[in-house]
């Protein structure tokens, strides 16, 4: 699942609160690791200290498929971003495993963005070595 880093510069490194550690560790290893409630099996993202479905504190993680569909998006033009050239597309995806995920589009033509399009998570590194994820539009089979 790894690919060349899509981006020349590096954005600010993420602030890793304890609840977010498994997610970012997963990214480092090229896996999409999402918080899982061991009581009610809810997958939740962004992470939280408690299950936001059943109140349980019994939280683990699960490696997820990285497949989903494009739910919404924007193409950002101005002002310039920290660590990303513009125009820069950001996608909100409905993931097949049942959670939503925000991520950058890379290796895709902005003009091809369409709500409902299949997308997949890829992994890579910025020039400074920082691990990251991004979305690609899945080409029709």
């Amino acid at each position: 699942m790894s690919a060349a880093a899509p981006l020349a510069d590096a954005p600010p490194p993420p602030l890793i609160e304890p609840e977010y550690a498994a997610f970012y560790n997963g990214i480092e290893q090229g896996r999409l690791v999402i918080q899982h409630c061991d009581a009610c099996c809810n997958l939740q993202h962004p992470p939280a200290p408690v299950c936001t479905h059943c109140d349980s504190l019994d939280l683990g993680t699960r490696a997820c498929s990285g497949r989903g569909t494009l739910y919404s998006y924007t193409v950002h033009h101005y002002p310039p971003l920290l660590g990303f050239p513009t125009p820069h597309a950001i996608i909100l995806a409905d993931m097949d495993d049942g959670f939503r995920l925000v991520g950058a589009l890379a290796h895709g033509r902005i003009d091809d963005l369409q709500i409902g399009a299949p997308i997949v998570v890829r992994f890579g590194r910025h020039a400074d070595g920082q691990a990251t994820m991004y979305f690609e539009l899945e080409s029709p089979a």
Binding site: P11, Y20, P46, Y73, H76, L81, F99, I115, M133, Y134
Partner: protein
């Protein structure tokens, strides 16, 4: 306790809104407060309460020192950035109605153009509530308020069929009001659909002409009891209702994890309680000051506040319905996109002027004015009445 008509706004003051004030935020704050006290016929010695934004950089002790306040009894702040506007009115009205304070000064003052700009990704990263999620979004290049909100509005377009031209109609109406308000940044500069569609993209679907005009300035207003208000020089602008609203699925401009990600769900919560508290409904409202951080967001706001059904704002805003003389003139001062951005607090000033009958673009027979905070975030709203 219902706060209906227990408190009133009796004085309003503002500096000019400009790209570069040339003075300190504290100076702007004091100019606005002194103007509001003069307007009310009160002095700073009458003041015993403050309410401002959590984000405001003017600290209570310095403001009290400069105003020579002898006995400050209540000082509160409201969080959630532009979601605070109605919450500030609510806190002030509660302080007055419960006897904690008699004369409450509410302000917002900032050099949000010359000193820092919320549109700057580096500024967003230290000011947006929720450091861990803000950082995660920035890590993926989601780094501006416009792009946060754009994701919700792109989905709204998909679900309702609203078009760039519909957003253009909203911008043209608001800028039309700015064009005839001498205090507006866009005074004398109406825009056409051609101008709108030629305006450069900022965060699709938002163009430059959809974005609020970041400004230096200060605004203030004075809240006191309805009983005291009757003895003062201006017609009181009664606080008919004020509410805050949020829920588990609402986060600042990024309510991405709920069924309807358009900026409307929390608006419906606010509207339901506001109308119940006030004993009024949308048909009782003659004009609305809706928080236009990005003016396309006013389409779902109109739906959430019940002026039309979900998805029908694009029809509602046709035929000059939201311009002066229409069914519901919106942002008669030119809004934050046309008059200037002051975190929505300048909208309160306009609501009071409409009630007094002194607005630059006066709505005939304005008796009840809706003023709102940012939608698509923990929000708030108020109804100001004669």
């Amino acid at each position: 306790m219902n706060l209906r008509d227990k408190a009133a706004i009796v004085g309003v003051g503002a500096t000019e809104l400009s790209p570069n004030s040339g003075r300190s935020e504290l100076r702007l704050c004091l100019e606005a407060i002194r103007a509001a006290l003069d307007d009310a016929g009160l002095t700073s010695r009458d003041v015993d309460g403050f309410v401002t934004f959590a984000q405001d950089d003017n600290v209570e002790n310095e403001v009290a020192r400069c105003l020579r306040i002898p006995d400050l009894k209540y000082f509160g702040r409201v969080g959630m950035g532009g979601g605070a506007v109605g919450g500030v009115i609510l806190q002030a009205a509660m302080a007055v109605a419960t006897g904690q304070a008699k004369v409450v000064v509410c302000w917002r003052a900032m050099n949000e153009r010359s000193k820092y700009r919320f549109s700057d990704p580096a500024v967003l990263m230290r000011t947006m509530p929720g450091a861990a999620s803000t950082s995660m979004y920035a890590w993926q290049g989601l780094q501006t308020a416009a792009s946060y909100a754009a994701i919700g509005m792109r989905r709204y377009m998909h679900e309702t069929g609203a078009s760039y031209e519909d957003f253009g109609r909203m911008a043209i109406a608001i800028h039309g009001h700015a064009a005839t308000n001498p205090e507006a940044r866009f005074f004398g500069k109406p825009i056409t659909m051609e101008d709108y569609l030629a305006s450069r993209m900022v965060s699709d679907p938002f163009r430059k002409l959809d974005c609020c005009q970041e400004s230096d300035g200060g605004v203030a207003f004075i809240v006191t009891s309805a009983a005291l208000a009757r003895d003062l020089r201006n017609r009181p602008a009664l606080i008919r209702g004020a509410v805050q609203a949020s829920n588990a699925a609402t986060s600042p401009l990024s309510s991405y994890y709920r069924r309807d990600i358009s900026p409307r769900e929390e608006v419906k919560l606010a509207a339901a309680r506001l109308y119940t508290a006030a004993g009024l409904g949308p048909s009782d409202i003659q004009t609305a000051i809706l928080y236009d951080h990005f003016s396309p967001c006013l389409l779902p706001a109109l739906e959430g506040y019940g002026f039309c059904a979900d998805g029908e704002a694009k029809e509602f805003i046709r035929d000059d319905n939201i311009s002066l003389g229409g069914r519901l003139p919106v942002n008669t001062n030119g809004g934050q996109t046309g008059a200037g951005y002051m975190h929505g607090m300048n909208g309160v000033i306009e609501a009071v002027r409409q009630i007094r009958g002194t607005a630059a673009n006066q709505v005939a027979g304005a008796e009840n004015v809706l003023v709102t905070a940012v939608n698509g975030a923990p929000t708030s709203a108020a109804l100001i009445s004669r």
